[in-house]
Assembly symmetry: C2
Homo-oligomer: 405 residues x 2
Amino acid sequence: MQYIDGGVCAPKGFQAAGVHCGIRSKNTDKKDLALIVSDELCTAAAVYTQNKVKGAPIAVTREHLKDGKAKAVICNSGNANTCAPNGVEIAKKTCDLAAEHIGIKAENIIVCSTGVIGEELIMEPFEKGMKPLVKALSYEGGTLAAEAIMTTDTVSKECAVEFELGGKTCRIGATAKGSGMINPNMATMLSFITTDAAISSSMLQQALSQDIKDSYNQISVDGDTSTNDTVAIMANGLCGNPEIKEDGEAFKQFCKALAMVTKVLAKKLAADGEGATKLIECQVTGAPDKETARSLSKSVISSDLLKSAMFGEDANWGRVLCAIGYAPADFSADDITVEMSSKKGSIKVCEHSALYPHSEEKAAEILSETEIKIDVNLNQGQEQAAAWGCDLTYDYVKINGDYRS
Amino acid sequence: MQYIDGGVCAPKGFQAAGVHCGIRSKNTDKKDLALIVSDELCTAAAVYTQNKVKGAPIAVTREHLKDGKAKAVICNSGNANTCAPNGVEIAKKTCDLAAEHIGIKAENIIVCSTGVIGEELIMEPFEKGMKPLVKALSYEGGTLAAEAIMTTDTVSKECAVEFELGGKTCRIGATAKGSGMINPNMATMLSFITTDAAISSSMLQQALSQDIKDSYNQISVDGDTSTNDTVAIMANGLCGNPEIKEDGEAFKQFCKALAMVTKVLAKKLAADGEGATKLIECQVTGAPDKETARSLSKSVISSDLLKSAMFGEDANWGRVLCAIGYAPADFSADDITVEMSSKKGSIKVCEHSALYPHSEEKAAEILSETEIKIDVNLNQGQEQAAAWGCDLTYDYVKINGDYRS
């Protein structure tokens, strides 16, 4: 099981493309329309935002995935098609248009949008862009699709792994976008995952639903759950393994490979959070149960106070304990150890839930790096989990408040 | 029922004082020790932080209030006595010392601390300061006490009301501190409330526990629940009303007067949030139940995205809907109206959960004021609630991250 180059086109039989079709009102030639198409009909699964205010494309994708099958993903950036007129109708028309040009059924298309909310998404750019988009499809087009789904992401994000399944070489590839803003909208997390493994749609859904608990659901840039978050996975079976239909060794291998991909992308999303200068990982160990470890690690990386302290390169362990203390979980806060580390070394700052004497200079040196790890040991069990976030910076406020000037 | 000047000394029979005794390690002559003493033994009640990591003084105060009686409050700023060596012992010693100098029982003292966490609170400054503090007690000392509990609050906060109870003129007075930081600690909200009404300690607890749901619990500066939050109330009965022992007209009047005081202080705390330039009030109406209205209004004023937009004076209603959508409550998000208003006027920006066409220039003019109101109507019930917060600014990041430079 190893990382390989590439993204959604790494597995066999997936083509992708990304073009500029003019969805953004501003003058820009940024790519804004992405397409991923499988040579064969796939089993498919997805998870969606828990926000009660949902983008219109989610309703359409949910309908199309009822049969657990899909063949393509169409995704635009620049407009979220959320709280906007005729949203569902436009999402459906987009699928119809893509289906016609690709030559597949509209109900086999996953549709997503990210960008401005509250503004009508008009069909004209799609009508203009769909033909060149389909024409541009290629087995090397993964990066173009990864670029086309970006909003204010500063880098495109891809990851792929290769592994064995039933004597066959399988691959899982993916792209993701996050935490970017365009006037006036909100951060949306999207991720599209492809694989040439053969796996039933119900097992695929089980794998994905379980996986996100320790990957995409464990990251936060600002705690604002978007209206459009979607993670979708398609499996076309072209690697030739016996189809995974139930739990067992093959399923475990598949889940392990999936986790390798999604964790890397989750970290990339956190590191590219709006205005971020540092990736912050919090690992909670010694927890009484897994859910407590998840909840506590996420509470730490979500705390504005801790995020500001990391920006200031201040080993403010009191804010770590504070964030742990108000997390919604059941545990004892009496014997907590906190260590902070980076490439520059490691330092213990708290023991038995109280100050552990340490050099502030050494701590500041460790925190001067761009990747910081905070280890929290609750000393009361065997479970552990991690979460990823970023520092809170002047630029976060600038990006989200000051864009008019 | 009317507002009057003053704070904790507005009701009959309460003296207060505030002095500098040197708890902060830095060179400063800021007052850091506050005392409030009632002429008569009071019924008393308190509510505390829900954080599992609690300041040591909370354990001592909780013990002292078991009998529902108190006569004094001693509170230092500059050190939170939290996650620090010998915390409970030092909080007890502080009570002993105060009791000795005032000439009362230590178990009738409410003790609180706010400031740095993780650093040992030493007794020496208390030993030096207690005598002058007690000597300085006066019926006009409320403001001195209000100043002594401040951390990085920019203004001291007091409020008082006068009202009739059983033919007698009663008063409730209070002070509060919030949302300030000192290296390295976290924001702590403290409020001390006094009254000359006669009311049993169980009814006092009931009044306070109910009140905070719509006052102090409905404010947020950064979502970080402190380790030391405490609201305490003492009633000495000197106004001569028949003691309130059960629910009824007198209790309702008392609760109404209490709400007048706590809501004003809650708003003052939000307006003085770290780095804040604007007070933001969110009023949710048309809710199916009270708890939903509370939850939704608080979610809006807690959203970093919305807070940043307010700083940028951008009528970003999409972020209001987003924050409502992810609040933990059960309601329909299909027919939401959003209006924004200030001294400069009012503007509808969202109707039926979608864009309501409006002038962005007019909206920006309205948001240029320092007090902004966001009205959200869910159009599905009769309940309502409000919450108060502030904008997220460069100075928040500066205060909490950049203090080393």
